[in-house]
Subunit: 236 residues, 2 copies
Amino acid sequence: MSSHQRKMPLYVQIKNKMIHNVNEEIWPPGESIPSESQLMAQYNVSRTTIRQAVRDLVQAGILETRRGAPTKVRQQPQENMENPGVIHHELGEEMAVKILRAENRLPHYFAKSQLHISEDEEVYVLERLRLADQKPIAFQQLFMPKDIGEKVHDKAEVDFDLFPHLGRYNIHYSTIKENVSASNATRYEADLLGITPGEALIDIERITLGMDQQPIEYSRTKYLPASFHYRIEIGS
Amino acid sequence: MSSHQRKMPLYVQIKNKMIHNVNEEIWPPGESIPSESQLMAQYNVSRTTIRQAVRDLVQAGILETRRGAPTKVRQQPQENMENPGVIHHELGEEMAVKILRAENRLPHYFAKSQLHISEDEEVYVLERLRLADQKPIAFQQLFMPKDIGEKVHDKAEVDFDLFPHLGRYNIHYSTIKENVSASNATRYEADLLGITPGEALIDIERITLGMDQQPIEYSRTKYLPASFHYRIEIGS
DNA sequence: ATTTATTTGTACGTATGTATC
DNA sequence: GGATACATACGTACAAATAAA
């Protein structure tokens, strides 16, 4: 124990020892920890002190108390502490990408308005399928300003997420706006995804802004609900 | 004070009185509250009891303590506890709620496992419709521990969002986990929502944890895509 | 189904430490 | 320095829920 610990309040020292016991799985997840009486004897402190340490750990989501029953170590102690809060998770083992179309086009009124591109400028259009274990799970339409699109053109069939590549050209995003909805698969989409028309799809519309607040991407991706998790976590 | 209060623990009763004092601005924001000694005399309880009540209110973000200094009422008590970039937006002018079912039930295996409720305990079940301009836009199934459900029971047909009411009982959430997906309307759901079976719905599954990290709500809400926006904004 | 022992929760009292004013 | 206020820590007793006999 560091001398740093010695001047700390007793209950904090005990709390730290308890955290150690949990981390080293001396107290395994889901198992009961010693009773308050036992802990009092073990650490030679009063019940007040034990209870204050335990209370803090319950608050931290590490322990779990129930009146009359032994105190337990919580099963999943807040898993990913570093969650940015939004988790996209594609389900499957072998992930792959298939390009349906990749070209510069003039007419695409809506996409161009989203990208703040003038009427007479070209836009880079990408249509792709996301495959998991050789089976399609998503259909994506993606639009970028022509100059940016050319930079990722040859990576488009390797990675579904293209932004890491843009980073190499010193293009970074500052803001991502997503609108999550649901839609029925059209005949065209159903055909591509190997489902029947009308099945529900998770419909994600996304606009990504660069450092200069100018749009660098507008996309629409439709996932099979069974193969995709869109999770949000608010709070700590 | 209702007789309902009398059987509650002393420190909870005191806590509720304190919350009342804060809400009614008998203790105005930013101002000091009476010292522990004064509160002991005023309520005729021990210091332990006062401290437990105060501790909970500090944890809830309502009070603020500093060693050696008087305890104060926090200026902005978790006003913007919500939305670090997550926006739910229901489209419509005249919003209303219709209750389909509201009762305590025993059998609901999945919901109870989500709420960490034991097999022989009852769970509060709420089924509601969300109406916008007299037309249904969402169907919600909501489960709560019985004691919490009873607190919002009479507000359930007034407000779709029940958490502000729970705040008055000093029940606050610490974490909200949402899983957004899409599903096809069943015949039952289609009938309730006035659409045809099979239409795509935004399917939101939510688990809310309280300050003690225990689940206080598990719900599943299905929205008509045309009447609901689920927006995420990552970054600044 | 009852009882009994165990375990956590509530509540009291007292003393001392330490930061603020 | 002194007075005040919150923080830590000890002790005791009983209540309430649980689990085992």
